[in-house]
């Protein structure tokens, strides 16, 4: 009769292969994501210039940052661009999705057309729209050619509206994605809701506004987070379309960071600016992650 007791083997060596296979993931998570972030935040309190140096200067870099007109312009641009692109891409994306959800013919053709810009890079997007908005050859020139001589639409060379020129390009590139997410959300809604609303005689727009949209809250929240984290990162589009000009009128934080790190050789400023970007993202993501995952953990 067997009665010997077998000891639990060292848990480190159980599933050893799985652990070995996960080393790249563990390194990425710890070294790059956590380590890199901490490193940058720490060095943002130093006076590093050409090379990173651990010479702490307190909040100097941040004070300088917030008194640099170019940074202030970048932040202002980011706010305008961010708020408008959220509003427009959500609205347009939802309306387009609602239109496509009417059991129409050629749905997939329309969807393909609206989504294709999303496959293109921001560089390509920026250059196309730079060309289209070119005052001497593009839309303005075309409309004037139609006989409307005083027509003026010259965003790329007008400091006060250049950010809207970028917004147009960004919306062209990105609304397809929003539409797709919204369409998936609409398709996820129970068909019976529509039948019930029809039987109750509720008009279509009211059903959307008061029943469907509230039901799609999770989709909206997810989409919002995706758009928002994309907004903070916006860089290539500006580089391609305006190079931040005219003057500093279309500068954005990501470009500020790059220029200070790699052109102006003022690493400390770059680190401080990127830490501010991180902070912005945290303000958006943390509440969302808490709502999305925090609640679920408590239940499960």
């Amino acid at each position: 009769m067997a009665t010997e007791i077998s000891k639990r083997p060292n848990s480190l060596f159980r599933n050893l292969n799985a652990k070995i296979a996960s080393i790249p993931m563990i390194l990425t998570a710890l070294v790059v994501f956590v380590g890199g972030t901490v490193w940058t935040v720490v060095y943002s309190f130093t006076n590093s210039r050409l090379l990173p140096r651990l010479q702490f200067v307190g909040l100097d870099q941040y004070e300088r940052l917030w008194s640099t007109p170019r940074w202030l312009a970048s932040i202002e641009n980011l706010m305008i661009y961010g708020v408008l692109s959220l509003i427009f891409s959500l609205t347009i994306g939802f309306v387009l999705a609602a239109l496509l959800d009417q059991k129409i013919r050629f749905e997939s053709a329309f969807r393909t057309i609206i989504l294709y810009p999303f496959a293109l890079s921001f560089i390509v997007t920026g250059l196309v729209w730079q060309w289209l908005l070119n005052p001497d050859f593009g839309v303005q020139h075309f409309v004037r050619g139609l006989g409307w001589e005083s027509f003026t639409f010259n965003p790329l060379y007008d400091q006060s509206i250049v950010i809207y020129g970028i917004l147009i390009a960004a919306l062209w590139q990105g609304t397809g994605l929003v539409m797709c997410l919204m369409l998936a959300g609409l398709r996820g809604i129970d068909e019976d809701i529509w039948k019930a609303a029809r039987i109750d005689g509720i008009p279509m727009w009211k059903t959307y506004l008061f029943i469907v949209i509230p039901m799609m809250r999770p989709v909206f929240v997810t989409t919002l987070v995706i758009i928002a984290s994309g907004i903070v990162r916006v860089y290539d589009l500006v580089v391609a379309q305006t190079s931040g000009g005219p003057g500093h009128a279309s500068e954005v934080p990501a470009k500020y960071v790059y220029d200070y790190m790699f052109s102006a050789q003022n690493l400390g400023q770059g680190f401080a600016a990127s830490t501010m970007m991180l902070l912005t993202v945290l303000i958006v993501v943390v509440p969302w992650a808490y709502l999305e995952f925090g609640g679920r953990n408590k239940r499960g």
């Binding site: 560089i123 060309w131 984290s229 990127s274």
Partner: protein, 305 residues
């Protein structure tokens, strides 16, 4: 036949029956399709303008309008964009950038997908203690602006002696593609019935045996989806290309931007548009070939990426 059906229902003439009559030109349809067609035109316009501009000669561009189709089709701008357009002193055209991009994209896609799929598999099926902590960090990390991690990575690459090389850039793409793709694969493998995995273990297959013999052959579609995400993402990358490579190894996007936005010389808009189109061609082809899978890919990737 139709007569028989009708006559067998004596009430047919009195009460409505059969499908509700639908008029093709109802107000609803005119509004619906009208809006969609206008929207579609708006979305197609830039592509159209790119194409026609790239096929015109410079004189025609100067005196015509952007929307007019070319009077005289010329492929000169395409040839020039591909082989002789200049960035600074270098006049090799976009071809160099194209081949650089190929050399960057192919290994990056392979390595990043290989690693992400193994990660996803380990996370979904082998769930060792602590794995989820790293996974959570990875997913949260996907939201950290790249700018925060850019410089530390420069240092890491320099320490490894691969800063400025293609290897370095491949590593960077592997790192930043990891969150989305790991998530994609993890969710996919988690949807494979667990009993299949258990049966394979009873049959004596180990970690790699189950991965290669059972899971891989079952997950072709998700590999295609991941490939679409990675090919377009890596091909379209600009930031990492600028930061982590040298001018000789610049990817196509960087070179395109340098050609178009170079301040020297006369602007040749037709060449610029040809170059732009050339750069956009690869992702566009991927997009139009992959169709539904692309949508599935961005939905899957975007949901938490």
């Amino acid at each position: 036949m139709a007569d028989a059906v009708l006559t067998s229902h004596p009430a047919a003439g009195v009460e409505p029956f059969g499908p509700k009559p639908r008029r093709v030109f109802s107000r609803r349809n005119i509004f619906l399709y009208g809006t969609l067609i206008i929207v579609s035109l708006y979305y197609l316009l830039p592509l159209y303008v790119m194409i026609v501009t790239s096929l015109k000669g410079m004189p025609e561009i100067r005196f015509g309008n952007v929307f007019a189709p070319p009077l005289e089709i010329t492929f000169e701008p395409w040839v020039k964009a591909w082989s002789t357009a200049c960035t600074g002193l270098n006049c090799e055209g976009l071809s160099r950038g194209f081949w650089n991009s190929v050399r960057i994209t192919v290994p990056s896609v392979i390595v990043s997908i290989a690693i992400a799929s193994i990660n996803g598999y380990a996370l979904a099926n082998w769930r060792f203690k602590g794995a989820n902590i790293f996974f959570t960090i990875l997913i949260v990390g996907a939201f950290i602006p790249y700018q925060v991690m850019i410089y530390p990575i420069v240092i890491i690459l320099r320490e490894m002696g691969i800063y400025g090389t293609l290897t370095g850039l491949v590593l960077v793409h592997t790192i930043f593609g990891m969150p989305i793709n790991t998530l994609l694969f993890r969710n996919y493998f988690a949807s494979v019935p667990e009993e299949l995995f258990k049966a394979a273990r009873v049959d004596g297959a180990g970690f790699w045996g189950i991965y290669f013999r059972i899971m891989l052959p079952m997950s072709l579609p998700i590999f295609v989806v991941a490939m679409i995400i990675q090919v377009t993402g890596i091909w379209n990358d600009f930031l990492f290309g600028v930061v982590y490579t040298r001018p000789e190894t610049y990817p196509m996007t960087v070179q395109l931007n340098n050609i178009v936005n170079s301040v020297q010389g006369v602007k040749e808009y037709n060449v610029n548009m040809a170059a732009t189109l050339l750069t956009g061609l690869v992702p566009l082809i991927v997009y139009f070939i992959s169709g539904k899978l692309f949508v599935r890919g961005i939905a899957a990737g975007a949901v938490k990426g």
